[in-house]
């Protein structure tokens, strides 16, 4: 490919690519990299969620994208322009911080007006814009309140309005919902989605809440130990996790450790039907993963319909979760491996108690076989 061609494809791609992260490392000098070789691109108008456990490097990656820190290696571009090309106050990035960082000496409306004033928008249009964005986050009428006179969820929404009002090219959210109660959090998640769709602003959200990631995002990146484990759409991520870590982190998953025998998973001599996900050598250590909703459950001695593997088990525990039950069933044939199984009708009669004998089974497609890596997930 000639240089001219390279330049052309580059500019062509920037027309729709809002964020491109290319081979980024971040080293705080602590011995391990906080972010290692991160690469991804995000198209304009999409909602990306970075998901991962505590300490996995999510905030670090977000701060790098915001330009608050400079990566040790690699390059970050926003709409084709290097992030370091402009000082922070000239960039068009709206950020909602983990601790909100609202201005306590201003009212809610003044907080929202602040970026308009700083960015020298026309003062004549400012009141209308402030009103419009307060309405957008459903805070109309509360503009005159000081920050400490608002509830946590309301403060949250002031922070969102403040980050959106100057119509930034990119919106960054750092676990802004983490401190809220579950009900409010789920409400705000839908709110986020509504606002984001309404304005079409490219958004990157950081969270460790898998549900939030699935609900709000167009795309998800799962991180662990500073490394991107998988980048995919929510449904794809849920159906086809790339490795055991992702399978464990998203959804409720049970694991079976054994060896890959060329076609199935061999657990202590018992062959378990399954589908290898990664390239596996016959005889190599492998880990099977199956979701709680994919394990079938039946009375002992019965034949479970369409199940490629069927085994006897004993109910170890029954967990009531409101709209469903979770059975924890141990399977003696698999070295007392524990399987978690959903039961979606807690009011039904055919319930098993702890200690009851049951039969469990699954289809070949539902048990995913991963290469076994490192410590148990």
């Amino acid at each position: 490919m000639s240089t001219a061609e390279a330049v052309r494809t580059d500019t062509a791609s920037t027309a729709t690519t809002a964020v491109s992260v290319d081979g980024v490392d971040m080293d705080f000098g602590t011995g391990t990299l906080a972010v290692r070789d991160a690469s991804f691109t995000l198209e304009t108008g999409r909602f990306l969620t970075i998901l991962g456990p505590s300490g996995s490097g999510k905030t670090t990656l977000l701060r790098l994208i915001a330009g608050f820190q400079t990566p040790t290696r690699g390059e970050i571009r926003i709409h084709g322009q290097r992030i370091s090309a402009k000082p922070p106050h000239k960039r068009s990035i709206g950020m909602v911080f983990q601790r909100l960082a609202l201005f306590p000496h201003m009212t809610a409306a003044e907080n929202v007006a602040f970026p308009l004033k700083m960015r020298r928008h026309d003062p004549a249009t400012t009141p209308d814009k402030v009103d419009a964005y307060l309405r957008l986050v459903r805070l109309d009428g509360l503009g005159d309140r000081r920050i400490h006179e608002l509830s946590g969820g309301q403060q949250q929404r002031v922070a969102i309005a403040r980050a959106l009002v100057f119509e930034p090219d990119l919106l960054l959210l750092d676990e802004p919902l983490a401190a809220l109660d579950r009900k409010l959090r789920e409400e705000m998640q839908l709110e986020f989605r509504r606002i984001q769709k309404e304005l079409g602003v490219t958004t990157i959200n950081v969270t460790h809440d898998q549900r939030e990631a699935l609900v709000v995002s167009d795309e998800i990146i799962v991180m662990d130990h500073g490394e991107i484990q998988q980048a995919a759409r929510p449904s794809e991520m849920y159906r086809n996790p790339a490795n055991a870590f992702v399978a464990n982190f998203i959804g409720v998953t049970s694991f079976l450790d054994g060896r890959f025998d060329g076609g199935a998973l061999d657990v202590g001599g018992v062959s378990c039907a399954g589908t290898p996900v990664s390239k596996l050598d016959p005889g190599s250590p492998a880990r099977g993963a199956i979701r709680a909703e994919q394990v079938r459950l039946g009375a002992p001695g019965t034949t479970l319909e369409a199940c490629d593997t069927q085994l006897d088990g004993v109910v170890d525990d029954v967990i009531f979760e409101g709209e469903r039950l979770v059975y924890v069933v141990t399977v003696p044939a698999l070295g007392d491996a524990a399987l978690r199984i959903y039961h979606h009708d807690p009011a039904a009669q055919d319930l098993y108690g702890a200690g009851a004998a049951v039969r469990v089974g699954w289809t070949e497609a539902d048990l995913r076989i991963f290469k076994k890596t490192g410590e148990p997930a």
Partner: protein, 313 residues
């Protein structure tokens, strides 16, 4: 044996021992009184102060009989009348107020950037250096420091020597109003910084970064966000610096050389030169009243909760 990584810190052992000791001296059944016990030193101090003030108040209402050098028996307000009508004391009071106001403004202007740099610097070495530079003059003491300035700024001092090198005639740098202000600001700076630093530490750096990401250049972030959020600290520091300057004695005495007396110098003269306890006491009480009035005015103006962040309406 399991490999334990946690060791019970020595400090906790000491705390345990202290707590056992405290239990013997002050059993838990006394706990209802603990609040009073903790407040006891403060109550004692304030009580003594009030007693002293009453004594001074009493003294201020007797005039000095210049023939016998005894205080009169009769109660009178003549001392206050004297003080109020005297052009000299008016000038002294005015000078003290002006100097205190100027010193406060200048000290805050210098202390703010210093405290800001100290709080925000990423380098521990720089922070330590700034702290040491701040505390060193503290250890030297006011009188020695003022004397030091006499040597440096005097007619044969370093500054005039250097001016001489470039051919400038010696300038009188001492025994004038600016010299006193200079000395006071230099003396007050550590107080200002030490009072501002906690206020600035309390402002999360994230708030400043947020201001930047919202479009505020650094100076505008300081002006619109940091300064208003540091207001309680600025007012606290301002009150301390103002009252300390208003009642200062050494700087006007040494750097003013007798020509720049503050109220405290006038009081000193009455007590220890003229031995007119009555007039001295009257002046002292008026100084207390003046200081209280100004501090009270600041509190009413900015709210009594000024020093407690966030309690503002």
């Amino acid at each position: 044996m399991p490999d334990r990584s946690f060791r019970y810190p020595l400090r906790w052992h000491v705390m345990d021992a202290l707590e056992r000791g405290a239990d013997i001296l002050w059993p838990a059944t006394f706990s209802r009184m603990t609040g009073w016990l903790l407040a006891a030193p403060a109550i004692l101090l304030v009580g003594l102060l009030v007693l002293g003030l009453i004594q001074i108040g009493d003294a201020s209402m007797h005039v000095l009989d210049t023939s016998t050098f005894r205080m009169s028996e009769a109660y009178t307000l003549a001392n206050y009348a004297d003080a109020f009508t005297s052009a000299v004391y008016f000038k002294v009071a005015w000078r003290s107020l002006l100097a205190a106001a100027l010193t406060t403004a200048l000290t805050l202007a210098f202390a703010f950037p210093y405290a800001y740099a100290m709080v925000r610097t990423r380098s521990a070495t720089v922070r330590k250096a700034l702290l040491i530079a701040l505390f060193l003059p503290f250890f030297i003491g006011q009188v020695v420091r003022a004397y030091g300035w006499l040597i440096i700024l005097g007619n044969n001092g370093i500054v005039n020597d250097m001016l001489g090198v470039v051919g400038v005639e010696p300038i009188r740098l001492l025994f004038n109003f600016p010299a006193v202000i200079f000395g006071l600001v230099q003396y007050m700076l550590p107080f200002g910084v030490l009072m501002l630093a906690p206020a600035l530490t309390a402002i999360p750096e994230e708030t400043e970064i947020a201001a930047g990401s919202l479009g505020a250049s650094w100076p505008r972030a300081i002006w619109h966000v940091i300064l208003p959020m540091a207001r309680p600290g600025l007012i606290g520091a301002g009150i301390v610096v103002f009252t300390l300057s208003l009642t200062d004695f050494a700087m006007p005495a040494i750097l003013g050389g007798g020509s720049q007396d503050f109220i405290a110098n006038a009081i000193y003269d009455q007590f220890f030169r003229t031995a007119d306890q009555g007039l001295g006491s009257a002046l002292a009480l008026m100084l207390v009243a003046l200081g209280s009035l100004i501090v009270g005015a600041v509190f009413t103006l900015f709210g009594a909760g000024t020093l407690a962040l966030g309690a503002r309406k």
